[in-house]
Every structure is written in C-alpha cells, then in structure tokens.
C-alpha cells in the first residue's frame, strides 16, 4: 500500500495514513486530499499547517477544541467553529485532516 506521486512511492497503512511521517510533502498532501475528495483551499491549508506545527511541538494532534480556537484566531469566528471544520473535512477535522497532514491517526475513544 503506497501513494505514488511523480514516481515516488510513500507507504501508507490500511486507512491511508502514511507510515513514515518524515516523507510528507505538500505535493503528497494534495494527492491524499484528492483521494479523500477534499478541496485544498487556503482555509484547508491553514488547518493542515496548524496541525503540523502543533504536532511538531507536542507530538500529537491538537484537541478539537484547541484546533477550533486556533482557526478562530486566524480565520475569524465564522470559520473557527466545528461546523465549518466538518464542512472542510467531513470525516472529522482530527482524523481526516491528520491523514492529509501526514500525521498518525488519533486513536482511542474518538
């Protein structure tokens, strides 16, 4: 199981999460997003970049509330809410956006 972009193979697990997170690139993100039917507009990139920065600092994806708050600060109250985040990432801002951001899937009772 691997993503193939420009001849480079990047392995992923059964659900499409890449197994070596260091192999992520913005081009790969676009490819994963295409698989997921997600439109990668500027707002979506804002989410992906926040997730990646947060992960770099804390080694985990942010809580949904933390993400919402951060997006609210950056994009305003009409976009910094879970409704808008679910519109962008219908399978859930944590799980689906993490997949595109090349981060591990949040596990547990979520």
């Amino acid at each position: 199981m691997a993503y193939d972009y420009n001849g480079t193979l990047v392995e992923h697990d059964e659900e499409g999460y890449i197994t070596d997170i260091s192999l992520w690139s913005p081009e790969l993100a676009l490819l994963i997003a295409e698989d997921e039917n997600i439109d990668m507009n500027d707002d979506a990139w804002e989410v992906i970049n926040f997730l990646r920065n947060y992960y770099e600092e804390y080694q985990i994806a942010p809580a949904v509330r933390v993400l919402t708050k951060a997006i609210k600060k950056k994009l305003g109250a009409d976009k910094g809410n879970s409704r808008y985040l679910y519109e962008m990432f219908p399978y859930g801002p944590a799980k689906q956006a993490c997949k595109i951001a090349g981060l591990p899937k949040p596990t547990g009772c979520v």
């Binding site: 659900e15 804390y58 809580a63 949904v64 509330r65 708050k69 009772c109």
Partner: protein, 508 residues
C-alpha cells in the same frame, strides 16, 4: 440480580428478516506484528495455530469456572435470539447471541467433551478449521460485550465473557485486532489511548482553564501532577480531546472547584479506559490498571475518582481492587474508587451546589444508559443507583427530561453500537447497524416528547453517537456529556480551589 419478572418484554424493535451471512465479511483490521509483540503476543498467525488455540481454550476453561458453565449450560431456549443490537440491525443469524456463543461452543464440544470427541455429528461439535477461525474473527468482533443478552438468558450465560475468551485465544495465536492492541500499546508507552504526552496534556488543560475563565470570569483550575492533592481524577483521554467529552471534563473541574476540594489529573495515569478487558487479557488489564495505583501512590492522594467512561467504571468498580489492590493507602472514609456522578450527586444531596436550570432550557433531554455502567456495575449505596444517580443529576440541573421506552433503558439498555473495542472506522457499517435500535428509541421520544438531546456517561458512547446520529437525522452535537449539563447550569462562586466552601458561604 435483575428481577426478570419486572423486565419489560421487547416490543419496540421488530425482529428482522434473517439474512444469512450478511455480516460474514465484516471484520476489523488485524493487528500489525509490532502491535502484537508489544503486548507479548505472536506477531502473526502461528503455524500450529489450531493446536495452540485448543490449548489456550483448555487453559481458559480451567481458569474460569464461568466459561466452563457457559459452554455447558445453554439449552437453546431462544430467549436471547432477538436481544442483540447487531442482530436486530443486520439480520445475520450468527449475530444471535446463542449462535455467537456456539462458534466457540462447537469447538469446545469437539475437543473437551466425551460426546463431541466420539460422536461430533450428534452434538453439533466441529473441528477448529480455518473457516471457523475466520468466523471467530468476524463475529467475535461483532459483539460489543454489552451483556444485554445475558439479562434475558434464564441461565445467565454471558456472551461478553465468551467473546473475551475468543479474542484472548486469537491474540495468543497471533490474530489480534489492530484497534484494541495498538491502543493498549500506547497506554503502556505514553499513558493513554490517544497517546497524548505530558506536554500536550498540560497545554490542553491550560487552554481549557483560559476558556472557562473567559466564559465565566471565574478561575477554575485543571491541575496536572499536583502532589499532595486529595483526589486523583482518572478520566478517559477522549475527555481531553474530543467533543462533547471535553465539555464533561470542564463540568468535573467546575464541580471540584465548587466543592472546594483539591484534586489533580495525572499524566502517568491519563487514561481511565482499560481496553484489555475487551480483549479478555487479565495480564494486560492488570498492567493498565497498575498505572492508576502507581499514580495515586506517587501523588499521595487520598481518593480516586473516575470520570465518565463506561467500561472503565466496570473495571474500576468490579476489578480494580483484585487487579492492583489493596488500596489501603487511601482514605478509608471514601469508597475506592468513586464515580464522578457519585461525587456530584453527594454534593447535590447536601445542598452544596446551586443550579440555574434555565441554562439547559434550550434542550429536552433523554438518558442513554451505557452498558458497562448499567449491567456491569453500580453507583451509590442502593441497588439501581447506576440508573437513578445520573437521572437525578440531570433532573437537578435541567427542566426537560424524558426517558426512552422502558425496554430500551436501564438494564435493558441498547448498546450505542461501538462498545467492546468496536469503535473503529473499519467497522463503521457494523456500528451504524448496531446503533439502529437505540436510534429508533430516540426517534420515538423525539417525535412524542420533542427530545432534542441525548446524555451519556461513556466516552465510547459519545464518540459513536456523534458519528452515527447524523445518519438518523440528528445533529452530531445532539449527544452531550452529563457533566456538560452540570457545567452549563452550575452557579460558580469566585473562590480559590482548596479553601473550604463553608467559609465562603458564611458571608453570603
């Protein structure tokens, strides 16, 4: 024990048309070798799996008298056949509890009974073949171990125990489930199911403190690793991460604040859940539970309180002392452990909490009894406390509360459809089907009594419902945490945590 004479008969849900093999291909991802080995299980299916599975079954039969009785005592009366939510949702006859049990029972008979060894065709005994193993993997991961069927079984046969035993056997031959085993590994390594490290946890809690202060003007602490605190709160890590769980966590913090007690969370024991119960592994269950004991000792607390988590409460209430006790270092004046609902209800009974119930007036609520609380444990000091206490708290802080149909609540409660280690995306179709009896009961009260929201006290239930409710015409925020309601309505005093409440009340 449940008084069977008073149990309502099941009239709500129609019995589905049988659809043989409908769910045969529903099975979760198999655990990767790394996830297996981290728990001491073989990385992949071993060559002599058949022999080792039978050996393991023999070992479990010796260890558990209950399993032996469950294997022997079924008389095929049929009382359980229409009691499983997965059967009701899928119509697959192998999801009838008796048929699920028989997947193990037929192998038990073949290798462990006289008749089965010599005349297998007479007693429904069968060899353990690859097909049988595939059926085990499929259908023992279509049981949420909710124990509803056992309530109706005249012999009290507990299918949950049988599915736990089957999963234990499969782990030991190298065929474990990815979802559970990966998560248990994370608890051993990082301390919680989500894998939230201490730094992230601290940041999340500080963020919540800011939010509460912004919203209420009151400083409410969510302390982490505070040595010498009186209470250690152990809660599911979903409470730090997901919605509506986090609103419940805010509710616990406000209650502690208002009670004026000193409390703390622990980054080492940052998980109430114990998925080892789902895979039937006593050893793993003990290892996971040991973290709670160690955190309590290291922090020097006097009490342990559990947050809203269904199976965690079953493990805590029933097994914690056996697994990692004795807890003689805690204050004997309090039960070990306590449920957050017991703590909150105690304060309400003493008149120490003031509620503005109108804060919840935009909702009409109903309560979903989580399986492991309803059928696997108790709360308070009276029989049925696990049903009464959560409802009493809801009534204390909300004006609009209606129960769902009697044959779908309390000990007859329908599982959310995601319990027992099935809350994973690879089983989403199963989860949707399994949720349908509960969703039907909810729809009925929504139509008749204009119920808008359902309350739960289990992290799995909350996540499962927020995922499947939109399929049934409800918003994903129609599922709420019980302590979210408490949080909405609780009138906060401006005080510093740790000071006794009385001294502040005197001036009022």
């Amino acid at each position: 024990m449940v008084d069977r004479d008073t149990l309502p008969i099941n009239v709500l849900v129609d019995i589905p048309v049988l659809n043989e093999g409908a769910m045969k291909n529903s099975s979760p991802f198999v655990a990767a070798p790394d996830h297996q080995r981290a728990l001491g299980f073989p990385g992949e299916l071993v060559d002599d799996w058949q022999l080792r599975a039978i050996e393991k079954l023999g070992e479990l039969l010796k260890k558990s008298r209950a399993l032996q009785v469950y294997m022997d005592s079924c008389v095929k009366c049929g009382a359980c056949t229409d009691k499983c939510h997965y059967f009701l949702g899928s119509g697959d006859p192998k999801n009838m509890p008796v048929a699920r049990q028989d997947l193990l029972r037929k192998v038990y008979r073949r290798y462990f009974t006289f008749a089965g060894k010599h005349f297998p065709w007479l007693v429904g005994a069968e060899d353990l073949t690859r097909d049988v193993l595939d059926d085990w993997y499929s259908y023992f991961h279509q049981c949420s171990q909710c124990r509803r069927c056992s309530v109706y079984c005249p012999y009290g046969i507990d299918t949950a125990e049988i599915s736990m035993a089957a999963r234990e056997i499969m782990d030991h031959i190298g065929k474990g489930q990815k979802y559970c085993n990966e998560i248990i590994g994370k608890v051993h390594k990082i301390g919680n199911n989500l894998g939230i490290p201490e730094k992230a946890l601290r940041h999340t809690l500080q963020d919540l403190e800011e939010d509460i202060e912004e919203e209420t003007g009151v400083t409410v602490e969510l302390p982490l690793n505070k040595k010498g605190a009186d209470i250690l709160l152990v809660t599911p890590s979903a409470d730090f991460f997901a919605e509506p769980h986090v609103d419940g966590l805010i509710g616990y913090a406000k209650v502690f604040h208002q009670a004026g007690v000193s409390w703390t969370l622990s980054s080492y024991a940052s998980e109430a859940a114990n998925f080892a119960m789902f895979i039937g592994s006593y050893e793993q269950m003990q290892r996971v539970a040991e973290r709670i004991r160690k955190a309590a000792q290291d922090l020097g607390v006097k009490r342990i309180i559990f947050g809203e988590c269904g199976h965690a409460w079953r493990v805590a209430y029933n097994f914690l002392n056996t697994l990692v006790g004795p807890f003689d270092f805690l204050d004997p004046a309090y039960p070990v452990p306590q449920h957050i609902c017991e703590f909150t209800w105690d304060l309400i009974e003493k008149g120490e909490l003031t509620f503005d119930k109108s804060a919840n007036d935009h909702m009409t609520l109903t309560f979903h009894d989580s399986c492991n609380v309803a059928r696997g444990s108790r709360m308070g000091d009276k029989p049925g406390g696990q049903f009464e206490i959560p409802r009493a708290i809801i009534r204390a802080c909300c004006n609009n509360f209606v129960d769902m149909a009697a044959d779908t609540i309390r000990e007859a409660s329908f599982c959310c459809g995601g319990g027992g280690g099935l809350l994973t995306d690879d089983l989403l179709e199963l989860r949707k089907k399994g949720a349908s009896p509960r969703m039907q009961a909810l729809k009925d009260v929504a139509e008749e009594h204009q119920v808008t929201h359902m309350v739960a006290i289990c992290a799995i239930c909350k996540s499962q419902f927020s995922k499947v409710m939109p399929e049934h015409g409800f918003g994903m925020d129609s599922i709420v945490s019980l302590h979210q309601l408490v949080s909405n309505a609780l009138v906060l005093d401006v005080q510093v945590t740790g000071e006794p409440l009385d001294s502040l009340n005197e001036g009022q």
